[in-house]
Subunit: 402 residues, 2 copies
């Protein structure tokens, strides 16, 4: 066999097996209570509704759903998504939409058309690890800006942008998850969103708004989406059915200026020709029946209940300590626990597994590999009747380390 | 808005809108008889069978089919594909398989892990244009080796490899479509396949065997697949359900050495996390019922009929001329027409459209933009009752140019 290491591309040589993925394998044992993965609650999957939807799709659109489709996406679904965007006061046409194999492909395609090796890309500290891996796969030079309880700190971003400008660095985009951020669960308020747009105009960069959880707000007031505040065409916005319908469809969409969509379409064509038409017709039929709104409402009732339970048990069982805190998100799937500075959640992970409880280590979300004293907890997936026991176990592991 | 041209990656700046795609838009008018696209015959799509399969999948595997799945692919489908490979005397395990969003994603992922900008990649002249665009998207330096009636000319390949070796060029792989090649319809005989493997060992390169049409043999004797002849682990083999079941599923698989699959899995994870589990369960259920063999048999009966018709009408209507010839494939979807040297099928295209018939220009498949006197004709898609009229129109356009 040829020498693979010698033959891999420079970017591929840099690609590492995801630590998370290896950790997640450990959490797959049946007796482990896992707050690790980012999985939606399976009880929200509309199995019965989808049976009927699938049969109807094959009846109504069979030959189209089974044939190659346009790279841009299937028109009747894009029509629905044009209407859907109006919920956010976003007025677009079909030409502003590209259907993708869920948001992760959105991240990949945007990276493909913008990132050259060593390009600075600005991300939250911490941020979604799938974003980090997509940017890394193209050799990005990741620059982190800290995230506080109100999301990305735009003041610090401004200082960094000025510094980069002086160095003549050509950064391409700033990546944000403004609503119920993965991993912290924090939401950027309107003023920071406006500030970010102002900065994008002043410093000439794209804002990549990753928005998988926005519809999953179960309390509090919704700030406008960054896309809805933009007037320049500098915002690329990623959306997905993964958290509001079912991740197994692997179906998402990009909203952006037509010129950017055009380039993304060319990139997508060489990547996979088109997103599966069959899943697009399924989503279109599902939406046309008005089922998606109902599904989201029911999911939010469940997730609020689960989040409240997790907060209750954190308060009840976690050791009382000045340096232990957690976020209390108004939506989404995750919250973020900060432990005392000397904690190392990587080192502690095996002990957690021994106690049969799992989380994701904070460092996985940190572009600089820090945040070692933090962990992400998912509240959407674990069954309600094991949540208390899981939190007891986790608290015990932490207690021992204090 | 930011200056997009300044911000696009170097590879993205090089990406061009597909000429074909623009041409295909012209061919979408209802009164045009199109031999252009590479579409399977819609009458082969098992709409009724799939209704039942979809309902059963949601019943049996609903919560798994709708959840995130493993990046490698769904086990019960990979089990089926391990068995399927035995038809080709290929003995593999699940660890040798990665499920993909059809073959085009296979081409993209292989490119992603192997191609650095300017790397020489060796391709047939002509070859599948989706291969060319995938390699180009990573900045490959395409090197063409001519294809004759027996596929890629391995003698010429050897000369080129020796030449590259002397220059110290580090080529990464040789791309071949050995069975019923797109666009020529030619098949490599066993001796050339063996020669290719011998060369891969001598000159240390990966053979990328793209095999979407292999099962669509309706006459003649099948040579062994390149993968089945390999003993070194140098062969990566791409497969798809697009031509044997339905392209709308966008479902394919890569077979390769476990180490290569491992790297492809890492690359795929940052690309789209996983192939849609729902389409994988659909294919698994379909295969488990033994329906795929029957589907392929029926498709081959239809395609043989259509190919025979096309050959009959070519013989009947095409101008008799020493320099006009066409291939007569034993399977697949395409044949290749060579016209006199001075013909330019690009220039002639508008005239064909005026006569309401369409083909794909030869240059689209040529890494050097040549083959201008050639065209690809698809015989799988056009309805049987328009094929004669379509051929008359095409012959008329050519006649006028002689």
């Amino acid at each position: 066999m040829i020498d693979l290491q010698k033959n891999y591309s420079i970017n591929a040589r840099r690609m590492k097996k995801s630590v998370i993925r290896e950790l997640l394998k450990l959490t797959a044992k049946p007796d482990i209570i896992s707050f690790a993965g980012g999985l939606p609650a399976p009880e929200t999957f509309p199995v019965e509704e989808l049976k009927d939807v699938c049969v109807k799709v094959l009846e109504k659109y069979g030959l189209k759903a089974l044939q190659y489709g346009p790279t841009e996406g299937v028109d009747i679904l894009k029509d629905q998504l044009v209407e859907w965007a109006k919920r956010d006061n976003v007025n677009i046409t079909k030409e502003n939409i590209l259907m993708t194999v869920a948001s992760q492909q959105g991240l990949d395609l945007v990276s493909k058309i913008f990132i050259d090796p060593s390009d600075p890309i600005i991300v939250g500290l911490p941020t979604y690890l799938g974003g980090l891996s997509a940017f890394n796969a193209y050799g990005a030079n990741l620059i982190g800006i800290t995230v506080d309880e109100n999301g990305l700190e735009t003041d610090k971003l401004e200082i960094k942008l000025e510094e980069l400008k002086k160095k003549g660095e050509h950064y391409k985009f700033v990546y944000v998850v403004p609503d119920f951020q993965n991993p912290t669960g924090t939401t950027m308020p309107e003023d920071r969103r406006k500030k970010l747009i102002e900065l994008s105009q002043k410093y000439n960069f794209i804002i990549l708004e990753d928005s998988p959880y926005r519809e999953l707000r179960f309390e509090g007031k919704e700030p406008p989406s960054i896309l809805s505040l933009d007037t320049t065409g500098n915002v690329i916005s990623l959306h997905t059915f993964s958290k509001i319908l079912a991740p197994g469809l692997r179906l998402g969409w990009i909203i952006a200026h037509k010129d950017i969509i055009d380039k993304l379409v060319v990139a997508k064509q060489s990547t996979d020709l088109c997103t599966p038409p069959i899943t697009q017709y399924i989503a279109a039929e599902y939406m046309s029946r008005g089922l998606l709104e109902k599904r989201i409402e029911e999911t939010n009732i469940l997730y609020k209940k689960k989040k409240d339970m997790m907060i209750e048990y954190l308060e009840k069982y976690m050791p009382k300590h000045d340096e232990i805190s957690w976020t209390n998100p108004e939506g989404g799937l995750f919250l973020w626990v900060v432990l005392p500075k000397n904690f190392d959640t990587e080192a502690m992970f095996q002990e957690a597994i021994d106690e049969k409880v799992a989380y994701i280590v904070g460092s996985a979300f940190d572009a600089y590999g820090k945040s070692k004293n933090c962990m992400r907890l998912n509240f959407s997936f674990a069954n309600e009747n094991v949540m208390e026991e899981g939190m007891k176990r986790l608290a015990k592991v932490i207690e021992k380390k204090l």
